[in-house]
Symmetry: C2
Subunit: 365 residues, 2 copies
Amino acid sequence: MATHKLLLLPGDGIGPEVMGQVEQIVAWFGKQGLASFEIEKGLVGGAAYDAHKQAISEGDMKLAQEADAVLFGAVGGPKWADVPYQHRPEAGLLRLRKDLGLFANLRPAICYPALASASSLKPEVVEGLDILIVRELTGGVYFGEPKEIVTLEDGSKRGVDTQLYTTPEIERIAQVAFELARTRRNKVSSAEKHNVMKTGVLWKQTVTALHAKDYADVELEHVLADNCAMQLVRWPKQYDVIVCDNLFGDILSDVAAMLTGSLGMLPSASLGAEDPATGKRKALYEPVHGSAPDIAGKGLANPIAMIGSFAMALRYSFGAGEAADRLEGAIADVLGSGTRTKDIAAPGANAVSTGEMGQAIIKAL
Amino acid sequence: MATHKLLLLPGDGIGPEVMGQVEQIVAWFGKQGLASFEIEKGLVGGAAYDAHKQAISEGDMKLAQEADAVLFGAVGGPKWADVPYQHRPEAGLLRLRKDLGLFANLRPAICYPALASASSLKPEVVEGLDILIVRELTGGVYFGEPKEIVTLEDGSKRGVDTQLYTTPEIERIAQVAFELARTRRNKVSSAEKHNVMKTGVLWKQTVTALHAKDYADVELEHVLADNCAMQLVRWPKQYDVIVCDNLFGDILSDVAAMLTGSLGMLPSASLGAEDPATGKRKALYEPVHGSAPDIAGKGLANPIAMIGSFAMALRYSFGAGEAADRLEGAIADVLGSGTRTKDIAAPGANAVSTGEMGQAIIKAL
Ligand SMILES: CC(C)[C@H](C(=O)O)[C@@H](O)C(=O)O
Ligand SMILES: CC(C)[C@H](C(=O)O)[C@@H](O)C(=O)O
């Protein structure tokens, strides 16, 4: 049995609490002899800044480069509101994404039947929802240069960000979307603003050409990003896989997440290119939710998004699809039996703690 | 009684139909002696391209410059999918916004009580919703240069768009938001992505400074644009006025519009700076909905967004707040009495035509 190198970066706020539950699940898989992990731990975000005066240390970056997968908790909080911009907690996450080349961010938005009524949308709109946002994660306005604030002669300032995409960058993310669509309902919706942005024009052209060349069997539609946001609210079940750039993906995936009424439940995977020599790809797994400083340390956090992120790691990094199914099944069972952390409990209903939820999932495994 | 110069640009698809209803209402106000209008008509979008091979002619641009207000229908449709990029229907709208200096786009999202059940959101989430998105409309990634697609040495292509904002551009739009908040519930939420974008950093700093200097009586909060999209779906009533840049405003206002379940009902105003000499400002009023080519020419379109846009013109361009109240009251009365066009009728229920809705509103005036 191969041993998988796992780097845990719990980060800030509720990050360490939810990561703690994953550690127990990792240990459980090890004890059962179902998988073997070699675990390292590091700091990221505010926690890293407190220790090293930077949002991730060179040593931890090296561990991330060597790991088969990184599990990432969450970063940020009011404590670090005034640290220098280049050291803000998010900088650690952005550096991991960029330096590991994690260009493909997969964000499933699944509405668990047991939780359909927790959504702000009508149950019939979200019941059974299962869509996947494939977001480009290492390009676009997040990383394009120039990216600066300059002071003009009259004392006013000008801020600049640069949205940049090349055809190879668009092709490789579209490829991921088409391949995944084939394992699902075989439909890709490509979202951009070609009516306003030249990167949108290039995006649409490139996706169209790739589709004609290699993926004509997959249904492809083009949708303007603003309309896509609107359609996600109106009737999200029209979608299967949505592919889009970094910034649109940031917003559309948050809208999609909120539809499910269970932000504390959604995992994500960020994947690099396959190394032709080893067949391996770098990967980072993180919950969609943030560090929630207001509830940190109180045992209130829902660990399911973090545990579900580990399930994605089993599937995409460790070739352990069955173990992933088993873990996801255990989560669904626990929800089906009515166990709820506070964020997903009905108002006034009993809720379990972070640790109790973790234990319930291990029991259901 | 001053005579107001009004330019009507019906555009494409359902644009001419809904504009037809406004013409009757304009005529009604004239006949009653309540206001006096001098009306010109022009072409924009695909209709202008068919006539002049450009999305708006120089002659019509001149009329727009001279008008006290422009009423704009909608542009675009499959017929013009292959026209050269610089002449695409949207180019007419973008040129009007830019050349008239219409930097402040006001998009109210109001959930009419009679229509709360038409939303995909639960009634308690949207009932009584009344928020206002103040979107910067002449800057940002819509107009920044470079904006191009270049072919690289290896034959691949690179697309570039440039997000640009200066402090004066941010100040003037924030000013509009703060002033409007004072006439409402006195709260401004400023949305950006300062954690990723330098324009976001400048946006946040500039809004904060202006607030401290001139608007400390208004409640100000900062929210990340992705979180704002999410919060709009979760609990939109937390907002009063949301101020944001051109691209975030495009998406957030579409999400907000969809919450109301009545996209066919939402008007918008785009305003320029006040001329210090005359006290006048250039203005364009348009429905939030598009040209809906699939239902064009069938008498199915809901004219309320277009009529409501004229009500905004009465209020913001013609100093006729009472007439605006009266027109908006007539719309609410007609809805209250159960009159519905197809888009807002319950499935299977009787619906009136575009013209019948227009007539009902005139009757209620
Ligand atoms: C924390 C922030 C930098 C990040 C982003 O904007 O990508 C977050 O919103 C996300 O979606 O993962
Ligand atoms: C038609 C298009 C250019 C426009 C925009 O992107 O601004 C539209 O979506 C809008 O919001 O008015």
